[in-house]
């Protein structure tokens, strides 16, 4: 049986809000005075609510009562919105800061990559920086010497290895930094969004490396990213952190589904509040996605048939009736590229809004998206004259499963974004 290599028990982390430097001496004296009388710290009781938005207290719990066991060889993806506490958790694990309460026990050598190329000195050469960076990450000099050649080769900077790092392009610096990290001897690896900085080829290399490492060396990896595609490909299990609390633990697919499910569908209020582009004379109030049978959908499958229902509300009734309505539903991938769009432009009949509110319906047949994570944006306007409302990436969706090709092919997840069917044959009777 594999043992747990990280055990997190009742861990909380409190941060003080506001300008740290203002009045701290007074606070410190207050605190010392309270301690002297045996009273609890007056400042830790203020911020007991863990809502990040609540500004009533001087303190905030970035993490609250986290309990987690991580097994050897597990690749854990950590998901959560901005400010949910993901990075705080990684910082606690990598000992950059310490918890306010609770304890963390670990087994084995931990290397944390909160940044690539930490401690590079611009005046030193690439070779000198490899030693410096490796030592900062906890390697002994002889360990670095042992794999120096591999590092240089992996980085692809062999030609420039004796040039000061300040002459490197930023991409080369990142490659060099990652090359050092990739050759570290460790049991537990903590990675925080470092993949976000490099170009596509570099990201692919990093991902390949992580998969290889986990498969061959039984390393435990903790990985934070906002790119759900990457998380899904690399990780085996996942957790969701929400408002400083552990909201969900499970295998990676169910975690992502849960995360996306929490983040959007049929939340009318969020659509009304969200600031869109456009003049706002007509507002989109709701977007629903249903399958062919009319049931609400939280995820889509390639090849499926879907109905999009866009509810709208007209603000300025003088405009009615509005003819030449243009509506669009746009799918973008995790990098922000539009991969698919459906539009009223492609239909022949002219749509007109006659009443102050109603629903625009679109039928989409045979969804040609490859499995992955996408966002939906919606657009509402009048021909090309004006934009009423435009909601950018309001709805994250998760495309998976299905049988687009009719032969159980998984559908090129991560290799492409759209799918189409094709016929193939070989004719080798004659030379062309």
């Amino acid at each position: 049986m594999t043992r747990s290599v990280i055990s997190i028990e009742n861990v909380s982390k409190m941060y003080r809000l506001g300008e740290v430097s203002s009045g701290t001496l007074r606070d410190d004296i207050n605190r010392a005075w309270a301690k002297l009388r045996g009273k609890p710290d007056p400042f830790s009781t203020v911020g007991v609510s863990n809502q990040l938005e609540s500004t009533s207290g001087d303190c905030v719990w970035a993490l609250k009562d986290i309990n987690l066991e991580i097994k050897e060889g597990e690749i854990l993806g950590i998901i959560g919105g901005n400010g949910a506490g993901k990075s705080t958790l990684l910082k606690l694990l990598s000992r950059v800061t310490s918890p306010s309460a609770g304890r963390i026990r670990t087994y084995g050598r931990i290397v944390s990559l909160l940044e690539v190329g930490t401690g590079f000195h611009p005046e030193l050469t690439g070779r000198e920086n490899i030693y410096l960076n490796g030592a900062i990450l906890g390697m002994a000099r002889r360990e670095i010497t042992a794999c120096l050649e591999q590092i240089v080769e992996f980085s692809g900077c062999a030609k420039y290895i004796d040039t000061p790092v300040k002459r490197y392009s930023s991409g080369m610096q990142v490659r060099l930094g990652f090359a050092v990290a990739a050759h570290l001897q460790c049991d537990i690896l903590i990675v925080d969004e470092v993949l976000a900085v490099g170009d596509m080829a570099f990201q692919k290399k990093c991902m390949g490396w992580m998969q290889e490492v986990s498969a061959t060396q039984q390393k435990t990896i903790l990985f934070v990213s906002h790119n759900l595609d990457v998380i899904r490909q690399v990780c085996s299990t996942g957790i969701i952190i929400d408002n400083g609390e552990l909201a969900y633990t499970g295998d990676i697919d169910s975690t992502i589904k849960r995360y996306l499910g929490n983040n959007g569908f049929d939340q009318v209020t969020s659509l009304e509040k969200s600031k869109g582009g456009g003049d706002g004379q007509v507002k989109i109030t709701n977007l629903q996605i249903m399958n062919g049978n009319g049931a609400l959908q939280a995820a889509m499958t390639p090849g499926g048939n879907y109905v999009f229902k866009l509810s709208y509300k007209v603000k300025n009734l003088d405009l009615l009736p509005i003819s030449d309505i243009k509506a669009e539903v746009i799918f973008t991938d995790s990098l922000g590229n539009t991969v698919l769009l459906i539009s009223t432009e492609t239909v022949e009949n002219n749509l007109t809004i006659n009443h102050s509110q109603g629903v625009i319906t679109a039928h989409l047949a045979d969804l040609a998206l490859a499995p992955g994570n996408y966002s939906i944006s919606v657009y509402l306007g009048q021909s090309s004259l004006r934009t009423f409302d435009c909601l950018n990436k309001v709805l994250p969706i998760f495309v998976s499963g299905g049988d687009f090709f009719g032969n159980q092919h998984p559908g090129f997840a991560g290799q492409c974004k759209t799918l189409t069917r094709s016929q193939w044959s070989i004719n080798d009777d004659q030379l062309i």
Binding site: S7, S21, V96, R103, E123
Partner: protein, 283 residues
Amino acid sequence: MNNTPAEEWTQEITAQRGLLSLPLKEIWRYRDLLLLFVKRDFVAFYKQTVLGPLWFIIQPVLTTLMFTLVFGNIAGLSTDGLPDILFYLAGVTVWGYFSECLTKTSTTFSDNAHLFGKIYFPRMISPLAVIASNLMKFGIQFCIFLAVVLFYWMKGAIQPNSSVLLLPYLILLMAAISLGIGLIFSSMTAKYRDLRFLLSFGVQLLMYATPVIYPMSAIPAKYAAYIQLNPITPIIEMFRYSFLGVGDASSAGILYASIFAALVLSLGMIIFNRVEVNFMDSV
């Protein structure tokens, strides 16, 4: 949660750390990093300069010449009958080491905030590296001093004696005192930035309360006790006595400096150790 107590863990992170649990073992494990930091500081210092490591020498030499001109010739302060240049060079070399160590270690956290915020290594490595790289600098400057001493010794102007063997101990004392005070200040500067200004300016003032530009023998009796309270005073006087043959050296003074060094270093380490775990939250 199934906690099998039989399982062993290599590391435990909790909210509080013991008062005296200095991570000495860990510091030893990271000794290569210390060496690399020293190398980095040394190499980065003279990269892209024409004169290179010569700058380590130019600074004390020019200071000495200026002191000779201003304090020796214009103000006419006593130098215990020693050649002016030699007298001031001794003071400048020793004081330079102490003040550099002190000011640099006291900004450990703010200087390394970008590193400390991203990665863990024993924080003590950084101030130790400062002490070590300044020791190299001191070594170069000391060579100049030694050359001047030899020159005057040949001429018969001075008589060095066997107490020169105390030199390593004197350096150790200065390193310990500056490290101790530096650690205390660095632990508190991130929270109270005021201390940084207090220190940089305090070090300048402290030089005048140390027999750098005047000998102890020139001090009126009613002030002498205060100057003697300064733990650097007996160190400089002993240094001058051993290399130049004249100075107000006493074993009691060295004993006082040793006790002071031991106390301030322990206090500094304890405070630093307490503070380092959560330091990044307040920088």
